[in-house]
């Protein structure tokens, strides 16, 4: 096993109108690992991210990060603690240049704009966006928007990075690139949680995987265990698929 | 409506185009320069006329402008300024849009570019305060009928006030009320929260003690209401014998209507403005009867020329000449007199001539007291307010004795006792 427990989620629950989005969800993330979080559409993954990062207050449950209770903190404070996230639908600051997008992140730790810019350039090099630094974020391709999303998050120098469907809509070559990027982040000592639909990626990247369905955890384990877990196959492909 | 030339201040428009060109933004209006061809005639005396003809005060402003037009035509028809070879008065109108900022701007424009000899106007004291500040700096004499005490108490050399001062109105009302109703009455005072309202009502409240009245209510209100009932309801609860309102137009009308509806039977001794305009009787009809008001002027002022003037105005505009418009009319003649004596279009000379004004006859003298003479501050020391009452559809002066044309009807019959 990797290091100490960095993030601990305990009994989290959230209801929207008639829909129980997340019900009594508990899991933890260890320092230095990549945790995959999978589940069919609508199984509560993004809602979980939103509760961890302070966008939704949970109806019940606790979130602890590095020993500190961060349940219900506003998003910017959660980020200040060292958790940064990306969004399922990329939310670049469309009318700004790529470098200014990233500077918005790096300014958190480097209030001096000149320093922040230098740092932003470093981050852009790390994610392979350096040549596009002066482009308008809105005019980037899908993969580059995802890169930007990650770069912006990295700019805040997080200890834990939450990636929400970073690979959706990418073609296989791009997926491979994205996987290399995420792996390199872990190698630099970052802890990462990935919510992902592209199974190939999750399976080969993750140290451990948590599977959600109907807002609850239906399985947890290493990729091999997960891919042979009948509950998982049922959740994804339908009850009779295994037999077919 | 004026016939002939459509625009009457060609000078400033041409000047503006020059200025606009200097600013490098002239292209847009260059096409309009065609209209300025009419040009200024050789002998004209430019007088700036600043009244609010749009915005919330437009009704009063337009009546004043009408009166100015009449006076200017009369002056010019009578041979213009004889000492200047019959030069015509050329009024340059500016709409101050019921806004102090626009007043400032228009005053600047006329005084800087209009080649003015003098200026007049504004009606509302707030605007006049602004305009006279500008006039003082440009050294252009400004004749006004606004009533704020402050106007001529700032040591200004170029401001001339033909009208009574604000404090005199309340004093006059109370003096009259005292003689009318005797001591020990309950007085309710309400006033719209403008300068006019607050300053004239102050005289009422201060004067109440002198005549031994008890002020049972004294409150400002915001004129933009849609229903006077809450206010009148409160007045009713204070059980007054006499009621002193200072109002604009709709509020005046609504207050009286509502008093009738709520059967509030205090004697009404109003503070001018909205109670003295044609719209008041037009709307209220018989319910306007017996309402008293103080005024700075009235169309039955006891001076020889007044009936003729009032008739000319009414014939032309189809409504009577109300107090502020009357003053606006008088002021043009006061200016014409000063320019005649100065025999010059130089504002400084006209100022000096104005300071020496002593009109005892002619249309320039017809303020209450029938005499216009400015003291060293520029105030017409011969003037006093008058008390008027609506009687049979007419506004009649009832006080002071020297000016009274008819006797006041008192006590006023209760609402439910009227025919």
């Amino acid at each position: 096993m990797k290091g100490d427990i960095l993030l601990e989620v305990e009994g989290l629950a959230k209801r929207f109108g008639g829909v129980q989005a997340v019900a009594d969800l508990s899991f933890h993330v260890r320092e230095g690992e990549i945790l995959g979080m999978i589940g069919p559409n609508g199984s509560g993954k993004t809602t979980t991210f939103n509760m961890i990062t302070g966008f939704y207050p949970p109806d019940r449950g606790r979130v602890r990060f590095a020993g500190r209770d961060i349940t219900g903190l506003p998003p910017y404070e959660v980020c200040g603690c060292g958790i940064c996230r990306t969004f399922q639908v990329a939310k670049p600051f469309r009318e700004l240049t790529v470098i200014r997008n990233v500077m918005t992140g790096t300014l958190l730790r480097h209030p001096d704009p000149a320093l922040a810019e230098t740092r932003a350039e470093e981050v852009l090099r790390a994610v392979g966006l350096a040549e596009r630094a002066q482009m308008q974020a809105g005019s980037l391709t899908t993969i580059d928007q995802r890169r930007l999303e990650v770069a912006r998050a990295l700019g805040t120098a997080p200890r834990l990075l939450l990636l929400d469907e970073t690979m959706a809509g990418l073609n296989p070559t791009e997926v491979a690139e994205a996987m290399r990027l995420i792996a390199s982040l872990r190698d630099q000592g970052l802890t990462v949680v990935v919510v992902e639909h592209v199974m190939r990626a999750v399976m080969s990247l993750s140290d451990r995987i948590v599977v959600l369905d109907q807002g609850t955890k239906i399985a947890e384990g290493n990729p091999r265990e997960i891919s042979s877990d009948p509950r998982v196959i049922q959740a994804y492909l339908g009850a009779e698929y295994q037999r077919a | 409506m004026q016939k002939g030339r459509r625009f009457r201040d060609p000078v400033s428009r041409r000047e503006f185009l020059k200025g606009a060109a200097a600013l490098g933004v002239g292209a847009g209006v260059a096409g309009l320069s065609l209209q300025e061809a009419a040009g200024a005639a050789a002998k004209e005396v430019n007088i700036g006329v600043l009244y609010p003809t749009s915005g919330s005060q437009a009704r009063f402003g337009q009546m004043c402008v009408n009166a100015v037009k009449l006076a200017v035509e009369e002056v010019n028809a009578a041979g213009g300024i004889k000492s200047l070879g019959g030069a015509k008065i050329n009024p340059i109108y500016a709409d101050i849009q019921s806004d102090p900022g626009v007043t400032r701007n228009q005053a600047e424009r006329l005084m800087a570019t209009g080649n003015l000899t003098a200026a007049t106007g504004s009606y509302v004291s707030t605007y006049t305060l602004v305009a006279t500040e500008v006039a003082e700096r440009y050294k252009i004499p400004y004749v006004t009928g606004s009533i704020a005490n402050k106007l001529t108490e700032r040591g200004f050399k170029f401001t001339f006030q033909v009208s009574p001062k604000a404090n005199m109105f309340g004093e006059m009302q109370m003096e009259f009320a005292g003689t009318l109703a005797g001591r020990g009455k309950r007085a309710a005072v309400v006033f719209e929260d403008t300068d006019y309202g607050t300053s004239t009502s102050k005289g009422v409240i201060d004067g109440a003690k002198k005549v031994g009245f008890e002020v049972v209510m004294a409150e400002p209100y915001t004129a933009k209401f849609t229903d006077a009932t809450p206010l009148v309801n409160k007045i009713k609860a204070s059980k007054p014998d006499l009621f002193f309102p200072v109002s604009y137009i709709t509020d005046a009308l609504l207050i009286i209507r509502t008093m009738k509806q709520l059967n509030v039977n205090a004697g009404i001794i109003a503070g001018g403005a909205g109670y003295l305009i044609p719209d008041f009787y037009k709307d209220l009809g018989k319910d306007a009867e017996y309402v008293f008001s103080v005024g700075s002027w009235n169309y039955d002022v006891n001076c020889a020329e007044v009936p003729k003037i009032a008739e000319a105005y009414e014939k032309r505009y189809g409504e009577f000449l109300m107090e502020h418009a009357g003053e606006a009319y008088v002021m043009i003649w006061v200016l014409a007199d000063a320019i005649q004596r100065a025999a010059s279009t130089d504002p400084l000379k006209v100022r000096d001539a104005l300071a020496k004004t002593n009109l005892t006859k002619g249309p320039g003298s017809v303020m209450p007291g029938c005499r216009v003479e400015f003291d060293e501050t520029g105030w017409n020391k011969r003037v006093h307010p008058v008390m008027v009452q609506w009687q049979k559809g007419q506004l009649r002066t009832v006080y002071p004795a020297s000016d009274a044309r008819v006797k006041p009807v008192w006590p006023v019959p209760a609402w439910d006792k009227r025919g």
Binding site: G18, V198, Y236, Y241 | -
Partner: protein, 234 residues
């Protein structure tokens, strides 16, 4: 009946569909499957004209429909039940259904259609006076489908009807869709639940990265190992 040819579509600068071709025959049911972000919803949005395609053509009864406004596409008999159900939350169940038959043709048969839809979804009849926003997820899905049926469509397009529903509810929903299918209405179903989707459809298309990577009869696709690979990365 419906033919999509070489369709390109994009959101802003981001290309979502690249040269997609697809067809649905009269009374046929067709499934489009693929991972999230593959472009399935975009395809349906382009067909119902909510999104103007960048290139290619959409034909319905051999007529071009890709430049019609959405409400005219609906008038042709194409009902689109959008992703996330999108019931009108402040209206009652019945009002939602009535609006489904807003166009003149369907309006003439409204009472009949209402009875028909209530027949298929008795649950909706029970809740007819309830505000749609207060329904459970499964009920909302039924309402959304019912609302689409009120149009008396010749083609019913369903976008992820299983989204966020409990397995039992998904089960029921798909039974209902199967019933609708029996009424002879052509169905274009977008779904990530492969088993369910292909179980219902005659034919299927697999969309990946905005392209059709596989197509064929449902049985073939179900047995095709590539499908499983595309989903589970095995």
């Amino acid at each position: 009946m419906l033919e999509v040819k070489d369709l390109d579509a994009a959101y802003g600068e981001v290309m979502v569909l690249r040269g997609v071709g697809l067809s649905v025959g009269r009374g046929e049911s067709v499934a489009v499957i693929g991972a999230n972000g593959a472009g399935k919803s975009t395809l349906l949005r382009a067909i119902s004209s909510l999104l103007r395609p960048r290139g290619g053509a959409i034909l319905f009864d051999s007529n071009r429909v890709d430049h019609l406004p959405p409400y005219e596409v609906a008038a042709l008999g194409i009902a689109h039940v959008p992703e996330g159900r999108r019931v009108l939350p402040d209206m009652t169940v019945e009002e939602n259904l009535e609006l489904g038959a807003y166009l003149p043709g369907p309006k003439a048969r409204r009472r009949e259609s209402l009875a028909w839809v209530y027949g298929i979804f008795p649950r909706l009849a029970e809740r007819r006076r309830q505000r749609a926003g207060t329904l459970s997820g499964g009920e909302q899905q039924m309402l959304a489908i019912g609302r689409g049926l009120m149009l008396r469509p010749r083609l019913l397009m369903l976008d992820e009807p299983s989204l966020g529903l409990a397995p039992l509810v998904v089960e029921v929903t798909f039974q209902k869709i199967a019933e609708v299918r029996k009424e002879g209405i052509a169905i274009l179903l977008v779904e990530q639940n492969v088993q369910r989707a292909l179980g219902l459809a005659d034919r299927g298309y697999v969309l990946d990265g905005g392209r059709v990577v596989l197509e064929g009869p449902s049985q073939d696709l179900l047995e095709n190992p590539h499908v499983k690979v595309a989903y589970l990365g095995l």
